[in-house]
Symmetry: C2
Subunit: 154 residues, 2 copies
DNA sequence: GCATGATAGTTTAACGCTGAATGATTTGAA
DNA sequence: TTCAAATCATTCAGCGTTAAACTATCATGC
């Protein structure tokens, strides 16, 4: 609602950037989700499969860390993937607290053929911006994501 | 996972921009939600109250349109606000299909004192970027949000 | 009037998400 | 050894979200 609040200009500017950021994220992820629905995958399920494909088997704690999601959430997403036979849980041998999540053959085939299509969709989405604009957006968003303690790393 | 996929440069660029956009949106909204929790409000509940404050009473259909949410979702959010006595439903007189949602006194007081604090939080979040950077971000995000049929209006 | 179709709201099933509580296991220190 | 703390996974309550089915109401044309 950037048009309905008449405050100081710095406030209007921040509110405006905020609402546009949310709308863009919502819009892009909605379209990405729509495409994944063809493979009967949600964005979260896709995220887990993609991490397993590119990083190898992971325990649920690591999955949560990669995807920035809570432990309870990972349990549910992996549950749903396991029901469809796309991943398999394996209790740790040395340390029985850990559960390693593996791709099954079926899961590997699905993500291997879904991933390129997903990339194509995102390239298409981002084609609303030029190459240098996409890089500019990355830099701005990275600084926002880090928060105001806009530290060091990289 | 921008670092784990080595594809064509255009693909890497788009994937990178996508992941940074999602992370930034997630990060900012998480911090905004944390602040609203002090008033026991979720972001969606805040959105409804804020729309009612600045636009006046609305029917649920209009609320859904403003907030880009489905009808079923609006029903639930308004339900939860009504349980707390922050809004009131009123069945239309002439056209009994419509339900107009009003702020109660309690709801108006809550949103009136929560909104300025929310603005302050967003200004603080956005202070990771300069004024012109915030405007740049707005413009880039607006074009992404519209999609590739990057039309006209405004 | 009456049938037909459009529209607003509600409900339900399914999934996502979090934070808090719980259980199992391991580690470390007394 | 044994007990306390830490860690991983699971469960649960609560809210958010959608799409699809359903109800009630209104509008239109016959």
């Amino acid at each position: 609602m950037p048009t309905h609040y008449a405050g100081k200009s710095g406030e209007v500017r921040a509110l405006d950037a905020y609402i546009k950021l949310m709308r863009a994220a919502d819009s892009v992820s909605r379209r990405a989700a729509r495409h994944l629905a063809a493979a009967r995958l949600t964005l979260s399920q896709f995220g887990v499969l993609e991490a397993l494909l590119h990083l190898g088997p992971l325990c649920q704690r690591d999955l949560g860390e990669k995807l920035l999601r809570s432990g309870g959430n990972i349990v549910m997403v992996v549950d749903n993937l396991e029901k469809r036979g796309l991943v398999k849980r394996q209790r740790g041998k040395q340390d029985r607290r850990f559960v390693t999540v593996h791709l099954t053959g079926k899961g590997r085939r699905l993500i291997a053929r879904t991933f390129p299509r997903h990339v194509a969709v995102l390239v298409e989405e981002m084609s609303a911006l030029s190459a240098s604009e996409q890089e500019k957006l990355s830099r701005l968003c990275r600084r926002l994501g880090r928060g105001k303690n806009a530290g060091n790393s990289q």
